[in-house]
Amino acid sequence: MPVSNCVEVGSGIQLTKLHVENFKSLVNFDISFSKFSCLIGLNGSGKTTVLQFIDFLSQLSKGDTLDWLKTRQWSSSDLHSKLTSQRLIKFSATFLLDEIGQVIWEATFNPDLSRCTYERISIDKLILMLAEEKKLSLHKNVDNSVPPIQNYPIIFDYQGSVISQLGHDLLGNFHPALLKVKEFLLKTHSLELLSPAFLRRRSRNSEGGIGYGGEQMTAVLYGLGRSKRNEILAKLKTVYPYLQEIDVSQLQAGWKKLSVVEEYSSKKYSFESKHVNDGLLRLLAVFAQLKYDDGFVLFDEIENGINPELIEFVIDLLVESPHQVLASTHSPIVLNYIEDNVAIEGLIYIYKGQNGFTRSIPFFSIPSMNEKLSVMGPGDVYQDTSLVELQEEIISLGYLEPHQ
């Protein structure tokens, strides 16, 4: 069921690697991503934590980490791992940029100060930005038209990353990778807690896209405009033939209301969002977010609320989308709708070592999984495998447990 009449263009940047030290169960944790990646693993292995960490990175670029913690009903002491005695969270994020290559952002985040106390963005040995001890250095731009900034005192208070405080106008004067990385992070959206209750709610503000739970979806749909909503409608009609219209109207004080119009026996009926089925609302959320911008989109348990016959439609949509996508799933049906080459590149097995640290391994780099894939689908392999015992094979491959 191909959906590839997309005309969107990718953002020209991908998050390709992460190294994380001390964020919840991510202790000395390494993971690699492709354009479409999907996390699989037992409950409690740390799949959602990976999504949360990427959302945390995104929040660092926006500042206001305290508000982010409040939204999640966390405190700053919930961020660091309980499995170690460390407080600081360190990470290294590697991005691949078209025409530029590999850019690495390394930082140390102090939860007590709610900000990064050390940050470095670099290309190979070229340091594009360095922030430490409240001093900022920015490398001169490519054409040398702007002089470098050396050890400029950071006299203002901020939360998250210092790049949250550097405006587009300023960053645009320096190496283009800086602005691209910041924009990528700003446009990273986690829909990890999609809930029908939030999706049905009226909303006013579409800034920042759809929220974790689906809040703001009506406002985002409204902001997309009729033309983009009709593009979504055209695709949804292939699986919801009765659907005739996605109607979003503005009420008093800027509230937006969603209704859908369906046609039965040549008669049209309008249903308010509170009467719309969960699956359609979730699909609308996925489409709306993909149309909202060209950023990195994260979905937790993508199969939730979606009938198996629509799963192929959703998976094709995400795989063929120009966006970088990271999803998690427990569903062999989802995995069976991923082509082998995409699954080999993008399926990541998440598991916990005996010390409680989360680990990752490309699922089909495990020899037995690769052998099974030769005669069955990726979901069949997953469902056929004793995951509890799989760890022994992974250890035999030389993936050693890191020390605390």
């Binding site: 062999p332 020899p367 037995s368 052998e371 099974k372 030769s374 005669v375 069955m376 069949d380 392999v381 469902q383 056929d384 495998t385 004793s386 015992e389 799989l390 022994e392 094979e393 035999s396």
Partner: protein, 247 residues
């Protein structure tokens, strides 16, 4: 009568090169066992033996109409428990290959796999894997299938003869790992035993020679996994001859 083999590689059922089948030691053992029932050698009869390599089966398996592979209470009871689907799919693919050939005589489909091979890495029960192959043959309505699943791998059968002189060999099946990288692996044990007893290694040619000389004798080997192969071969031959219909 025809026999169609599919195995792991040269040191069990054999391999093909430029379309010619070069049997390995397990194929020789099975051929000799069947010879005693039918009075002629399938391996020495033109057009009576075929070998299908793993890659060919893999290509076929991916094209097979999807079976109801979703696990659940009923499916598990029917032979779809964990770590078995690889065997099920290969059995189905072997039947599909045989049917594609439109052979003019009944063909024994003999699927040999190690119980502890690459696809399992030590996981899963031997019995479930055997049942899964049988389930695959039944699923395709193929009556002449033989599930040859060595426990944990074919080296255990050879070791029984070469090192243990056929005595107490059931314990080799119970206590050995199929992992070639493990210390004191079956492969290492067999190499040492072959060297000590016959002054040779355990290449296909070495093993073929020892089997042909009768120094590895399938009749003498009393091991659960090989016994099951022998009894299935008997049943299938009886079925082809119309002696006793298979249940």
């Amino acid at each position: 009568m025809i026999i169609v083999f599919s195995g792991e590689g040269p040191t069990d059922l054999g391999s093909t090169y430029a379309g010619t089948f070069s049997p390995g030691p397990v194929a020789l053992m099975i051929n000799r066992w069947i010879f005693k029932r039918i009075g002629y050698s399938l391996l020495e009869t033109n057009g009576a033996n075929y070998y299908v390599c793993k890659a060919t089966l893999a290509d076929i398996a991916k094209q097979l109409p999807r079976a109801a592979l979703l696990r659940g209470k009923k499916a598990d009871r029917g032979g779809l428990s964990l770590e078995t689907r690889y065997y099920f799919q290969n059995a189905r693919a072997l039947v599909a290959w045989i049917r594609e050939q439109r052979l003019e005589q009944p063909a024994i489909a003999l699927l040999f796999r190690d119980a502890d091979g690459t696809a399992s890495a030590g996981r899963g029960e031997w019995e479930h894997k055997v049942n899964s192959v049988i389930h695959g043959f039944h699923f395709e309505n193929y009556p002449y299938g033989v599930a040859a699943i060595a426990k944990p791998k074919s080296e255990a059968w050879f070791l029984c003869a070469v090192r243990y002189n056929y005595a107490n060999c059931q314990s080799i099946e119970a206590s050995s790992s199929g992992n070639d990288a493990s210390p004191n692996s079956l492969k290492q044990q067999l190499e040492a035993a072959m060297h000590q007893r016959f002054g040779c290694g355990c290449s296909r040619d070495d093993l073929n020679q020892i089997v042909s000389d009768g120094l590895i004798d399938e009749q003498e080997i009393d091991m659960q996994s090989l016994n099951l192969v022998k009894s299935q071969c008997n049943d299938v031959v009886d079925l082809i001859f119309g002696i006793s219909p298979r249940a």
